[in-house]
Symmetry: C2
Subunit: 214 residues, 2 copies
């Protein structure tokens, strides 16, 4: 299913060429508006050739999206060096929204479309630990930061459940991004800039969470 090149020195593998072209097309037109024939045509291949390297369209999409998300997750990971947990939380939110606005089509795939249960994952059941999907890492970082806020007494006493608070925050930033992607250019209401909205939202939320009203 994944043939090896004879001469790895010369040029990119066909598999990589497929991935590159798909990334380009998907990001520009969105997955459902890119046909396998389109994709094959831009690589000057036959549609069937793609199926030598990917089980089906869904598998191709999955691999692409996981790649991009890994870089996103890495970018978020760099924010782990911020000492103050509350400040870190804010920066996480901003980075999240910035990613969603910059790569709306990737974002839609990751967070706005129900993922049909991956056939391989269903049979494979247990995944290698620590090797988990990148979205888990990002979520773990969020949870850890929230937990740190709780442990250092930055939050009001009613916020003890880190998962609960993390999901609240996630819902907020996701909501801003998702609404902007879906209805961003609906003319019937004047949208505020998503970055401004999320900035104000995070600020407000933090004040609601914090124990010290300035």
């Amino acid at each position: 299913m994944t043939p090896r090149r004879r001469d790895p020195a010369r040029g990119p593998t066909t598999r990589q060429r497929i991935l590159e072209a798909a990334r380009e097309l998907f990001a520009r037109r969105g997955v459902e508006r890119v046909t396998m024939r389109d994709l094959a045509h831009t690589i000057r291949l036959t549609p069937a050739a793609i199926y030598l390297y990917f089980r089906d369209k869904a598998a191709l999409i999955r691999e692409l999206v996981e790649n991009d998300f890994r870089t996103f997750s890495g970018r978020l990971g760099r924010l782990a060096r911020i000492a103050d947990p509350v400040e870190r939380l804010q920066e996480l939110g901003h980075a999240y929204v910035e990613f969603g606005i910059s790569y709306p089509n990737h974002y839609r795939l990751l967070f706005m479309t129900p993922h049909p249960p991956d056939a391989a994952a269903v049979v494979g059941a247990a995944v290698a630990p620590g090797q988990g999907r990148p979205e888990e890492d990002a979520y773990a970082l969020l949870m850890a930061t929230v937990q740190e806020c709780i442990d250092t007494g930055r939050f009001r006493p009613e916020y003890q459940n880190a998962a609960q608070v993390a999901q609240m925050i996630w819902a907020c930033v996701h909501g801003v991004v998702a609404l902007h992607i879906v209805m961003g250019d609906d003319p019937w209401l004047t949208w505020q800039s998503p970055t401004r909205t999320v900035a104000m939202l995070i600020e407000t939320l933090e004040r609601g969470l914090s124990v010290t009203p300035p």
Copy 2:
């Protein structure tokens, strides 16, 4: 395009039968997993017959969704009788989430899928005033309530832009619903109940917005 019945007394119009069956099927399986042939078959009709009453699948979906949303909008409208604007805001949020959780497929269509610019709307340009789409009404109600909160001095002075605040709130509740719909049964993270999450979220947000910290 929309033929009239000869004997309106006898039984429901074919058009209505299509709508009813479509509503049932769409709500159960989701739009993209219901084919025109499926739909026609349950009415004991030929697929082509549907096209006597609806221009295409998208038009059928639009009409269905607009209907359901009108009832939702009406339900929200009943909350307008709540005197206290802050309390009204909270109830609006809860009703919103309850709708999204109860009718996930309708919600996805309304708020989670980009609407291709309606051909009729593009040529028709101006719609009859007051006859606007129901989502506008719901949004107007939200905006008005926020404005009332601002006018009666319930919010901190930095929140003067009603549209901005309304979109913050909308983003929050939408985020809770949308995440739940898309990742609600992903096993890798333990989701809190959406109603609990949104309750806590609204409470937190309100404390962040309000001028008086209790």
